[in-house]
């Protein structure tokens, strides 16, 4: 079925089809609609979900942890300060290996207070042991919400699917939905090893773990993350067969003969692809690489993609506040260290707090990248693009 949906509506629609056992949530702009719309599905009896309106995001994700420990399929949605308030519980969810799925709408973290898009919120949770997938548009947000549930359960790790606040979350687009009955069939039942409610086989969850075993438990969690990428590829392949839409780990656009490229995440991928088309019409060999799966980082696929270009502009809608630039830039530099094919990298930190980036902006970045290709020198490795006073 083809419908017109905003990103939030599309994610809520996916949640309706997934029909989770439990959704515990607290509203926050720009993610409010996801659970607001979902609560209507609950009210109208369109889903069987136990809906828990919590008193804070910390309580919401804590309720998710409890529910998921029983073997339930559990989802929630949040943004910005909400994911920040969830922060300590995120590590508990991943440590306990609970496949909770969060529909995360990217919004800048305070301060200064702002409600618009950048990636500082999800990236501040980067090291929490959650799978993170960034989407480019409403269709992908819908599809990835369904994919993430299956991936999380197969990997026994929690996952967050992100959309860019307002740009995707409130932008109406054409969305193709999978049939209602196909989604539960695609997902199957969640398989569990232990349930908190299995009184015949009682277990202790989350016991104190000191010098003698903590490290071993963390090591097994790291190992679980190490097995995620093949799981994502398998589930994306299955979903491709179901929907006709095939998603990669790393989205490459016109990269085969690209001389210069940009690397980005989220909705900027869409804007960038239009810029690529415009420049291609002028005969310029430009390409685009979009990091779709961000955690775990798809090292091999990313090295293969970036190595095709001679110069790569890395676009980060976030800054690490470490004087080392943006998150994606640091990851890109790290994975290319051992590569024989190392393109020149230049970091463009852009769009903080929702500042718009236009097709023309990206065209101007490509122009700079061609200049670097010509001279073979990166004049300045980290720049703050679109800020006044530079």
């Amino acid at each position: 079925m083809i419908v017109a949906r905003t990103g939030n509506e599309a994610m809520a629609e996916a949640m309706r089809q997934i029909n989770p056992d439990v959704v515990a949530a607290y509203p926050i702009t720009p993610a409010t609609e996801v659970v607001q719309l979902f609560s209507k599905f609950v009210h109208d009896g369109q889903v069987d979900t136990q809906f828990v309106p919590a008193e804070s995001e910390h309580s919401a994700i804590s309720a998710c942890v409890g529910a998921s420990s029983t073997g339930a399929r559990v989802m929630t949605s949040t943004a910005s300060q909400g994911i920040a308030l969830m922060h300590e519980i995120l590590f508990i969810a991943s440590g306990l290996r609970l496949p909770i799925v969060i529909c995360l709408v990217n919004r800048a973290l305070s301060s200064p207070i702002n409600i618009h898009c950048d990636h500082s919120d999800s990236l501040a949770s980067r090291d929490s042991g959650w799978i993170q997938i960034f989407t480019e548009n409403t269709q992908e947000a819908y599809d990835t919400t369904i994919i993430a549930v299956k991936v999380a359960e197969a990997a026994s790790l929690p996952a967050m699917v992100t959309t860019d606040g307002f740009i995707i979350s409130h932008g109406m687009e054409r969305v193709e939905l999978v049939d209602d009955e196909a989604v539960p069939k695609f997902l199957g039942e969640r398989k569990i090893q232990h349930s908190l409610l299995d009184v015949d086989n009682p277990k202790t969850f989350g016991a104190l773990d000191l010098q003698d075993y903590f490290f071993e438990h963390k090591r097994s969690e790291i190992d679980a993350m190490d097995h995620v990428l093949p799981i994502i590829e398998k589930v994306q392949d299955e979903y491709g067969k179901l929907s006709g839409r095939h998603y990669p780990l790393v989205d490459e656009y016109r990269m085969d003969d690209a001389e210069v490229a940009i690397l980005c995440m989220g909705s900027t991928g869409g804007t960038g692809k239009v810029a690529v088309e415009r420049l291609r019409e002028q005969g310029k060999k430009v390409g685009l690489v979009r990091c779709r799966v961000y955690r775990p980082f798809p090292k091999e696929a990313m090295v293969a993609a970036l190595a095709k270009a001679k110069v790569v502009g890395v676009l980060d809608r976030s800054d690490t506040m470490s004087t080392l630039g943006g998150h994606l830039y640091n990851d890109a530099r790290s994975i290319l260290y051992d590569s024989d094919m190392r393109p020149h990298l230049k970091n463009y930190v852009y769009g903080l707090g929702g500042r718009d980036i236009s097709i023309e902006d990206i065209e101007s970045i490509y122009k700079e990248l061609f200049a670097i290709q010509k001279t073979g020198k990166v004049d300045k490795d980290i720049v703050y693009f679109g800020v006044r006073g530079e």
Binding site: R97, P202, D212, Y213, S220
Partner: protein, 96 residues
């Protein structure tokens, strides 16, 4: 001999341990004072059983049978809570 601990690949999944692992820890060896129960004085009011934080008061058919020294940590709550007119439990120094 040094205890052989499990490597990370051998651990059970997801931090879920068997329940009631405290049964494997005989906490009675923490005791510096030992409660002595006097069956002659005991009225079987069950106050000690209610208060004991380690479930170390042995009860059968509604009657106190004695104290489980495998787990009793010697905290003395039973002796303190035994009614003043009964005083069926007294604490004595644990001898080596």
């Amino acid at each position: 001999m040094k205890e052989q601990k499990k490597g990370w690949k051998e651990l059970p999944f997801g931090l879920a341990l068997d329940a009631a692992t405290c049964l494997e820890f005989p906490t009675g060896d923490w005791r510096s004072e030992r409660p002595i129960w006097d069956p002659e004085k005991c009225t079987h009011c069950m106050i000690c059983w209610v208060y004991c934080p380690d479930s170390a008061i042995i009860v059968k058919d509604g009657k106190v049978q004695g104290i489980d020294y495998k787990y009793c940590k010697g905290c003395g709550i039973c002796a303190e809570e035994c009614p003043p007119k009964v005083k069926a439990i007294t604490m004595v120094r644990e001898e080596k």
